[in-house]
């Protein structure tokens, strides 16, 4: 953050150092410019309708910079056509977020692309569900309309439409390939199929229940989202959680990372034609889920993280059994890595497939696993370690080749690192309570929670209402930044390699569409 920005900025409640400033249109654009040139990254972009309070709309940008998060708020008069300067010039990933903001709030960025992103045909063009005067349960008749994909022309170019229903047990989204022969010339994604009004739903919930919805934004990142929500609420209410509870949260978060990485590595082996990999990794994943069931009370930890701490404590015999499980898992992972690394067929499919160049990743604001595989060494657990990671010294794993093999290698490294973290957490568990009481928050306060999930950083921006209600809650998934990367990584590759490349990113549809 520049000294000028910090001057006049106030600190926001957050688990990271966080500054907030309200700015005019010119400064909005200039802060983006200086954030970009200082190496900052766009973390999230969202809007709010505050016409009931002060006749204004607001748009917020959160930048992750070397010294913390800068939340920049820009307000617009609540007239008929509120507009703000687009951030796309500095942060290309902003474009889709701006389109979603328009769909939900009717605040327009000064950008020509206003095709509906989360609004398909489910509600009328001039209806904006996140506005205060929109009643959330209104339903409309669907009038299906074609989406104007960008056309690629030339001799022998044809299109392959894929989705929204895919051939497999995966989430829905549409991919439009323009190909010549088997080579992909262009991929255009269309998402938003899973939009289910989560942000509007938040506004009908009380603060102490919101974590349940947060956990179900993207089921594979339930712990990360519920933690991000809870930490935002705890920061707003100045609640301090018992040390044992944050250690248990981190343990759950690392289990979530382990389970997802194991699942991905198996699926990647399978997509490369190595079913043995899927069998072995899905066995390890199932073992881990059963361990979760035994020690945390559920296979997927949807309701484990709660405001003030965690829902339940570990059983007495857990530490010994967990350490045994980690040892077995590590032996298996090391052995399977050896198998993958030495298998000519697998390496032939993984290497130099779906390359995401470092420059592209950097320009497009890549985050998480995908960024680390393209040489961007960012991980909140080391960049801004909040408890208990401040005592952990987490090693960030990076690769430079940016291909499928690199994203596989990062996952293998992170599995081993996660196991180290889990061991340290279990061995050093503090005694004491696992939950503390959280008071109702003052109304009108904005708090930010950011947690490094297995896919990348998830953010929750929570604004409190009166009597313990939620005024506004915006969840942000790292998939927003990373979906556009896939459109670049596939270029020049063969269509049959798409499932493999797609899986190597394994992005969330639900977390993105909310």
């Amino acid at each position: 953050m520049t000294p000028e920005f910090k001057k006049g900025a106030k600190t926001l409640p957050s688990n990271l150092p966080c500054h907030h400033k309200r700015v005019g249109a010119v400064e909005w654009w200039e802060t983006a410019k200086s954030a970009r040139s200082a190496g900052g990254r766009l973390l999230a972009l969202w809007g709010a309708d505050d016409r009931d309070r002060d006749s204004r709309y607001r748009v917020y940008a959160a930048y992750l910079e070397a010294d913390g998060i800068a939340v920049v708020g820009h307000e617009m008069e609540g007239g008929t056509k509120p507009t703000y300067p687009s951030l796309r010039e500095f942060f290309p990933s902003a474009l889709r977020m701006e389109r979603a903001i328009f769909d939900l709030l009717g605040i327009k960025s000064m950008e020509p692309d206003h095709r509906g992103w989360v609004r398909h045909s489910g509600w009328p063009e001039n209806t904006f569900p996140l506005r205060r005067d929109f009643y959330g349960n209104t339903q409309f008749a669907v009038v299906s309309k074609p989406y104007p994909f960008v056309q690629v022309e030339g001799d022998g170019v044809h299109e392959i439409p894929v989705g929204p229903v895919h051939a497999g047990t995966i989430e829905p989204g549409h991919f439009r390939f323009s190909v010549v022969g088997e080579k992909v010339l262009r991929l255009e994604e269309r998402l938003g199929y899973k939009h289910k009004g989560i942000e509007k739903r938040f506004e009908t919930m009380v603060q102490k229940e919101g974590h349940k919805l947060a956990a179900r934004i993207s089921g594979d990142s339930a712990v990360a989202y519920s933690w991000a929500y809870c930490t935002a609420l705890e920061a707003i209410t100045s609640t301090s959680c018992p040390p044992r509870s944050v250690q248990l949260r981190a343990l759950a978060l690392e289990h979530e990372r382990l389970a997802n990485h194991l699942g991905d590595l198996g699926a990647l082996g399978n997509d490369a034609g190595f079913a043995f990999g899927l069998t072995q990794f899905s066995r390890m994943k199932e073992d881990l889920l059963r361990t979760n069931q035994a020690h945390f009370g559920a296979r997927y930890l949807m309701d484990f993280v709660v405001p003030g701490g965690v829902e339940s404590d570990l059983p007495n015999n857990a530490p010994r059994l967990l350490l045994d499980r980690y040892n077995m898992l590590e032996t298996d992972v090391v052995s399977m890595r050896n198998t993958y690394d030495n298998h000519a067929g697998i390496q032939d499919r993984f290497r130099e497939t779906g390359i995401l160049a470092h420059e592209t990743a950097w320009k497009l604001d890549a985050v998480g696993v995908a960024a680390r595989a393209s040489g961007i060494p960012h991980d909140l657990r080391t960049d801004f370690p909040c408890p208990p990671y401040d005592k952990m010294n987490v090693k960030v794993s990076t690769q430079t080749s940016g291909d499928v093999a690199a994203r596989v290698a990062v996952r293998f490294d992170e599995l081993i690192e996660s196991l180290h973290i889990c061991r340290a957490l279990v061995a050093g568990l503090s005694d004491g309570d696992f939950r503390s009481a959280v008071p109702d928050a003052e109304p009108g306060l904005l708090g930010i929670g950011v947690i490094e999930a297995w896919r990348g950083p998830v953010l929750i921006a929570l604004e409190t209402g009166s009597n313990g209600s939620i005024r506004r809650c915006h969840p942000h998934d790292p998939s927003w930044q990373n979906w556009p990367l896939l459109e670049y990584a596939i270029l020049g590759n063969l269509v049959p390699d798409f499932p493999l490349i797609n899986k190597s990113f394994n992005l969330s549809y639900s977390g993105h569409d909310v």
Binding site: P129, G136, F140, I170, E171, H195, K200, D220, R283
Partner: protein, 170 residues
């Protein structure tokens, strides 16, 4: 190669006994026989995610792991609804997925079975109904059975599949 083979041997066969469909004492062998008698082949399932958080997908995927080994009892997942006998639908059904779900349902040849998976598929779950969510699967296409849970464990999903077949073949 030798490592792969030796790991296979060391891992052994992990597949567990198939759970009984609730309220039935039909042995699994009979069930397989029933499936074969009626269909003359494996029961084919097509999964449709109509707007879930993807938690249910993870548990449906788990049915293919060696512990549950769903293909071992004559049930397999297929890529096209035109090859399917049964749809596993997770929800809530988002407005943006309504048309795709209905078209997938229409593409499944008759007679067809539908199971709504998870709390959201069964009754709308925490999302409920709003401008973007139509809630339960049953409000969009006819269903034969539903299985609750958030997400339901693989055993519960398997039991629901077995019970649905059982009530059809009885």
């Amino acid at each position: 190669m030798i490592n792969t083979l030796s790991r296979m041997i060391r891992t052994g066969i992990l597949t567990e006994e198939v759970p009984h469909a609730p309220k039935t004492d039909l042995a699994i062998g009979d069930l397989q026989e029933n499936i074969r008698k009626i269909l003359g082949r494996a029961l084919c399932i097509r999964h449709v995610d109509a707007g879930s958080c993807s938690g249910c997908e993870l548990e449906i995927q788990a049915l293919n792991n060696p512990y549950y080994n769903i293909e071992g009892i004559g049930i397999k997942f297929v890529a096209s609804p035109r090859h399917a006998d049964l749809l596993l639908v997770t929800g809530p059904v988002s407005v943006n997925m309504e048309e795709a779900l209905k078209r997938t349902f229409d593409a499944v040849p008759d007679p067809k079975l539908v199971i709504a998976v998870g709390d959201c598929g069964a009754c709308g779950g925490i999302f409920g109904k709003n401008y973007a969510s139509l809630g339960a699967v049953a409000d969009v296409i006819p269903i034969d059975h539903s299985v609750k849970g958030c997400p339901p464990a693989p055993v519960a999903i398997l039991q629901a599949i077995l019970q649905t077949i059982q009530s059809t073949t009885a």
